[in-house]
């Protein structure tokens, strides 16, 4: 019988005494069993597991004699600053004329030295970035999103323009869903033409997405990569079970970035990232998509995954040191975002708020690049970012909030 009590137990003498009394106890109760608590190594490890993270606290020492205190006790607060051994890779999205493309401006993401908005300890070099969704054919959209695009949905170039010119999209996420054999089966060649048209219509960088068809996407993305040669687009996405090699090769050959998508699994994410690195892509050419679930539909998994990935990267795990893509427009899949319901109140407000809260949660967890659908979300999130980056002066006074809240 082996008994493990953890290495950090220091009072060895006392431990010995206790083990002795435990042993006695075991003897008394027969065999190696204290009724339900068998002291077998595995069992004990199991019992010990819940303790991970349970921290002891030194006694909260209060002065024994509580005498009248007249003045505030003085103390100091010093910010608990940490430094991390690792840093997230910086990815440049888009290319201007000077580096081989035709975009007016590039967008840089990543490069973090600390968790998002921990500006008391370090300033992350790049802002979070926001892309808006465009599809290569009219699609079913929530009513409150659709009303902003209804007249341009038949033309992805116009749709993209609307996003950039009217709603301030920094990046366009062009989804070539019509290539799906079950939808229109648009050929890779025709899809590439759409990419060209959108590149001409707008001067912001592009994310090029397939239809999700594992067999066809690599060919679609390859053709798109070729016509967009030099533009440093993001090819969305390479998966463990599609021909990721084809996508990686196209990215290398034509100078693009690859999204490594895995469905909520940090180990597979590491594996896929490593496979892409092995294909010769650099960390600066990979963006991680660990799956973004909507608020109420698994956002908890997404939040923890992003935090784990970002922390792992900061702690030096070079397989996870790439920026994170959060497809927060997935929020519109939640019925709370689009469905008419008396019980839930007007969906015109509820929908964009659902997307806003999903996005904020992903922002705080470590996302770097976000896909959004509703113009209101874009506006709110951009304003919020300016605040969180400390770019907006304010003389807000809150001291009198108790009396000064309106009714």
């Amino acid at each position: 019988m082996a008994i493990f009590f953890g290495d950090d137990y220091e009072e060895k003498e006392e431990a010995k005494a206790l083990i002795k009394s435990l042993a006695k106890l075991i003897e008394k109760l027969g065999d190696l069993e204290i009724e339900n608590v068998e002291i077998r190594a595995e069992e004990l490890t199991f019992i010990l597991q819940p303790m991970v993270g349970v921290m002891a606290q030194a006694p909260q020492l209060l002065p024994k004699v509580e005498k009248a205190i007249e003045t505030l006790l003085k103390t100091e607060f010093s910010p608990p600053i940490e430094t991390y051994p690792g840093q997230i890779a910086e990815v440049q999205i888009g290319a201007t004329r000077s580096d081989g493309g035709s975009r007016k401006k590039v967008v840089r993401i990543g490069g973090e030295k600390t968790m998002p908005f921990y500006s008391f300890e370090a300033l992350n070099p790049n802002r979070l970035a926001f892309a808006m969704d465009v599809f290569d054919m009219p699609v079913v959209l929530a009513k409150s999103v659709k009303q902003h695009f209804e007249d341009v949905m038949h033309d992805p170039a116009d749709w993209a323009k609307r996003c950039v010119e009217d709603f301030g999209a920094e990046i366009i996420s062009l989804n070539l869903i019509s290539t799906d054999p079950l939808i229109k089966d648009t050929s890779a060649k025709d899809a590439a033409k759409t990419v060209e048209r959108v590149l001409q219509a707008v001067d912001v960088p592009l994310i090029i997405g397939g239809s999700g068809n594992k067999a066809k996407d690599p060919f679609v993305l390859e053709a798109a990569a070729e016509v967009a040669s030099g533009e440093r687009c993001i090819l969305n996405s390479a998966n463990i079970d599609n021909d990721y090699k084809r996508i990686a090769r196209a990215a290398k050959k034509y100078g693009h970035i690859v999204v490594a998508f895995t469905p909520m699994d940090i180990n597979n994410q590491k594996k896929l990232n490593r496979l892409l690195l092995d294909e010769g892509l650099s960390k600066e050419q990979i963006i991680i998509d660990p799956t973004t679930a909507a608020l109420g539909y698994g956002l908890d998994y997404t939040l923890s995954l992003m935090e784990r990935i970002k922390l792992a990267g900061l702690l030096g795990d070079s397989d996870l040191q790439m920026p994170i893509l959060a497809s927060t427009s997935n929020s519109w899949g939640a019925r709370e975002a689009w469905m008419k319901s008396e019980e839930w109140g007007p969906r015109e407000y509820r929908g964009p708020l659902w997307e806003t809260v999903t996005t904020i949660t992903a922002m705080m967890a470590g996302g770097d690049l976000f896909m959004l659908s509703h113009p209101a979300t874009v506006r709110v999130i951009k304003g919020l970012m300016e605040n969180l980056y400390g770019e907006v002066d304010t003389d807000q006074r809150i001291q009198d909030w108790i009396t000064d809240i309106g009714m």
Partner: protein
């Protein structure tokens, strides 16, 4: 640095008699339950005997989480906040979901006050088998009149059974509410002791044994000083309000403050800051008349921001359900046990009274998807079979993309569930979001696959069209 607590270090403070009074077979089993937080030291009756007094005290100290748990209210009307142990939720489940209070101003007329209290108490939404509710009422002294405030406090206390927060920076208002507001023995949370009023407010907190908030806007040194002072006076139940700025640079500071405070307490073992944190998103309603839609929208996302950064208690103002729904849902998400997938048993379910002609639907075993689909089928009065696929607890869209939702899994489910013997047709309705698997599933099952609507709320209309 805090040290890790081991099973043995807990065991050594127990009576070690294995008397079984706690309901556990022995003290070691009890010790492991203590560490899992299924028990508190009070659950061991012998430990409460005078001779174990010292051991009891030591045990309580030993297993105390780095963030103190503070209880507000009494009897069946209590809220516990704090008790946190980790910085990131994947490390261990967060305890005590963020409590949400809604404010009531004493300048409202009585009828409106009663109505608001009832509304706060009755709002409830059921998601994944859990009822989401608001937790507290924050009574604000906006009248600056102690008599009015104490009257309204008692009116609120009579109108609902929720724990209260009494809000005023003027101690004489708090005093009046405690003396005459009929809440003196209900342990309301006193808001707030500040640099100016801490002497009087701490006196009240002591006299009435109430938990108290310390308010030190954007000044962590002052916050610490105030806490040190109140601790020295003998006050133990403290809640920290480092100031909820909702605008500009100051919002950035507020977010940084929350992270610094929590990190100092959990990772640096700073005892002065080891208390629950509160924030006041209601502050977005300050000033000139606010547009209620814009303000509710902003309040909801500011609340989400603070909840994502450790707020244990929020005071909000809006009662718009569309604004509260995402906040309550986010709370449910953040406080779900990260180690447990939210899933139901896969297999075949009968909805209503299906027969051999009834339709067969396919869905995933993600709990929310399953409950939503089952509920929609039931409430539409559809008699049918529902096949629940093991997608490892992932929703349809995610599991189709991720491959957990695949044709060979469906085939296995066909075999294990015996669905083929239950009906005389061979038509399977799959979720709209799994449309791309139509062909594969047809090949693997030899059934005809019909692509259903993207959302189960539309099943009824779909059936009348496609199911003769």
């Amino acid at each position: 640095m805090p040290e890790k607590v081991t099973l043995l270090s807990v065991y050594r403070f127990l009576p070690q008699t294995n008397c079984g009074e706690c309901g556990e077979p022995n003290c070691m089993a009890f010790a492991s339950k203590l560490l899992e937080r299924k028990f508190t030291p009070e659950n061991c009756p012998p430990l409460k005997k005078p001779k174990y007094k010292e051991q009891m005290a030591k045990l309580i100290e030993l297993i105390a989480p780095p963030i103190k748990e503070v209880t507000i209210g009494t009897g069946n009307s209590i809220v516990k906040i704090g008790g946190k142990e980790v910085m990131y939720r994947h490390e261990l489940t967060y305890h005590n979901p963020t409590a949400i209070a809604i404010d009531v101003s004493d300048t409202m007329d009585d009828g409106k006050i009663v109505e608001t209290c009832k509304a706060i108490e009755t709002i409830s939404l059921v998601r994944i088998g859990e009822t989401l509710k608001l937790n507290m009422v924050a009574v604000r002294c906006a009248s600056k009149d102690p008599d009015r405030f104490s009257y309204v406090t008692s009116l609120v206390a009579r109108s609902c059974n929720l724990p209260l927060i009494l809000c005023s920076f003027d101690p004489k208002n708090l005093k009046a509410a405690l003396e005459k507001g009929q809440v003196a023995n209900k342990r309301p949370l006193l808001y707030a002791a500040s640099e100016e009023n801490w002497r009087e407010v701490s006196e009240l907190a002591k006299q009435y044994d109430c938990p108290v908030v310390i308010f030190a806007p954007n000044n962590l040194t002052l916050l610490k000083s105030l806490i040190k002072t109140l601790q020295a006076i003998g006050i133990r139940d403290i809640v920290m309000d480092p100031g909820s700025y909702t605008e500009g640079k100051l919002l950035k500071d507020s977010i940084n403050n929350l992270v610094m405070i929590r990190r100092a307490a959990i990772q640096r073992g700073d005892k002065d800051l080891s208390y629950p944190i509160m924030a006041v998103p209601a502050i977005v309603w300050m000033g000139e008349k606010q547009d209620p839609i814009t303000a509710s929208y902003k309040e909801a996302y500011i609340a989400s921001l603070f909840m994502n950064r450790y707020a244990d208690l929020l005071i909000m103002h809006t009662l718009e359900i569309w604004a509260l729904l995402p906040v309550l849902t986010l709370r449910q998400n953040i406080y779900t046990d990260p180690r447990k997938p939210v899933s139901v048993e896969p297999g075949l379910r009968a909805i209503g009274k299906p027969d051999e002609k009834s339709p067969v639907f396919l869905t995933t075993n993600f709990a929310l998807t399953y409950f939503t689909v089952a509920n929609d089928l039931e409430s539409a009065g559809i008699n049918c079979y529902l096949l629940v696929l093991n997608t490892e607890g992932l929703a349809v869209e995610v599991s189709v993309a991720g491959g957990q939702f695949n044709s060979s899994n469906v085939k296995d489910l066909f075999l294990s569930s015996g669905v083929e013997k239950m009906v005389k047709h061979n038509k399977l309705i799959i979720p709209g979001m799994a449309a791309r698997l139509k062909g594969e599933i047809e090949d693997s099952t030899n059934w005809e696959v019909i692509v259903g609507p993207r959302d189960s709320s539309q099943i009824k209309g779909f059936l009348t069209k496609y199911w003769a």
